[in-house]
């Protein structure tokens, strides 16, 4: 079981709700994923288009909701968004996202740390989306974040674990859950993240933008479970040179057996 703050999760696959073709597809995919933590965003209601009820169906799935602060460009806006989320959903769990640049959506580390410290002091369960920066992740842990969510690659890019070297350091150092967020584009990448020792992964685009989201969600669930089991089983060491798995002695080279010359018909059959 994965424990974050006072909550336990049996699934280590967290999912987002964006980019699905429709709510029904999203709900089927989330159900298929087995995810127990689902992210959502906040937006001003558009009076010309009416209210789109997302919460009702999500709550019927029984998942825990993790509102994010997407759209915030600095700490002040992110804190405001967290307060909105608390008022709206009654939860102090918050995925802290501050990305001022819309092209790459890379998180602002300084504003994130400022907001994280303030929100932790206010009793929020803060899960910051950050670059794969081991030093920053340590600082976020020190100010009381419940988890860190370093990116594998840019949001929605499906580029996978481009930051793998640094993710490994973060995982090695952290004493809070490390959830790989953003950029995971294939189940194999999610599996790899879990093999590395990630506590969980958060996947949205790769599922929502697949041809069959419900099937892909199940693939991710299986991959995450397999990756976790592989991590727990303990991966073998990686060697630079070959290391034989079969005995290389007492067979041909050091015995008295004379290796026969292949017969003609064997030669013919093999051509």
């Amino acid at each position: 079981m994965l424990t974050i703050a006072d909550h336990q999760f049996s699934s280590r696959l967290f999912t987002g709700t964006g980019k699905f073709a429709d709510h029904n597809t999203m709900l089927q995919a989330i159900a298929s994923s087995g995810s127990q933590l689902v992210t959502l965003a906040m937006k001003r209601i558009d009076l010309t288009r009416g209210h789109d009820n997302l919460l009702g169906p999500l709550q019927s799935l029984g998942v825990k909701l993790l509102p994010n602060t997407a759209g915030a460009r600095n700490a002040k806006e992110a804190i405001f968004a967290a307060e909105l989320a608390y008022e709206m959903l009654g939860t102090k769990w918050i995925k802290l996202e501050i990305h001022p640049d819309p092209k790459y959506l890379l998180p602002d580390p300084i504003e994130t740390l400022i907001a994280a410290q303030y929100l932790c002091e206010q009793g929020y369960i803060v899960m910051p989306y950050v670059h794969a920066d081991p030093v920053l992740c340590r600082r976020l842990e020190e100010v009381g974040c419940a988890a860190v969510m370093p990116l594998g690659s840019p949001i929605g890019s499906n580029q996978g674990l481009a930051t793998e070297t640094f993710l490994r350091i973060i995982i090695e150092q952290a004493t809070i859950p490390v959830i790989i967020d953003a950029g995971i584009g294939a189940p194999s990448q999610a599996c790899r993240a879990m093999e590395m020792g990630a506590a969980a992964v958060l996947v949205n685009t790769a599922i929502a933008s697949s041809a069959y989201p419900q099937k892909m969600a199940k693939c991710f669930a299986d991959a995450v479970a397999t990756g976790r089991q592989a991590y727990l089983a303990g991966l073998g060491a990686v060697n630079h040179h070959a290391d034989a798995t079969s005995p290389l002695t007492a067979f041909l080279t050091d015995s008295s057996i004379k290796v026969p010359i292949p017969t003609a018909h064997i030669m013919r059959d093999s051509t």
Partner: protein, 75 residues
């Protein structure tokens, strides 16, 4: 839009759209009047989040900038 009666009606901005409503309308009543959801929303009046417990006590004022937020899909 113009005022019909400046003593009984006020003009305010609701989610960026100008509205003429009666004076002494509180925030909770405003949501109902404008057919907005009252559950799982957050209200901001002039840049301050108004707790649900205060909705009945906050009267709309002329030129208020009121914003209602709800949850949407996101990652």
């Amino acid at each position: 839009m113009t005022h019909i009666d400046s003593h009984s009606q006020i003009t305010l901005q609701l989610n960026g759209v100008e509205q003429i409503v009666r004076a002494n309308l509180n925030v909770a009543e405003l949501l109902i009047l404008c057919d907005l959801p009252t559950q799982s929303v957050a209200i901001v009046v002039n840049d301050s989040v108004v707790p649900r417990s205060r909705w009945m006590h906050i009267l709309c004022q002329a030129n208020d900038n009121i914003t209602v937020f709800s949850a949407v899909a996101g990652g």
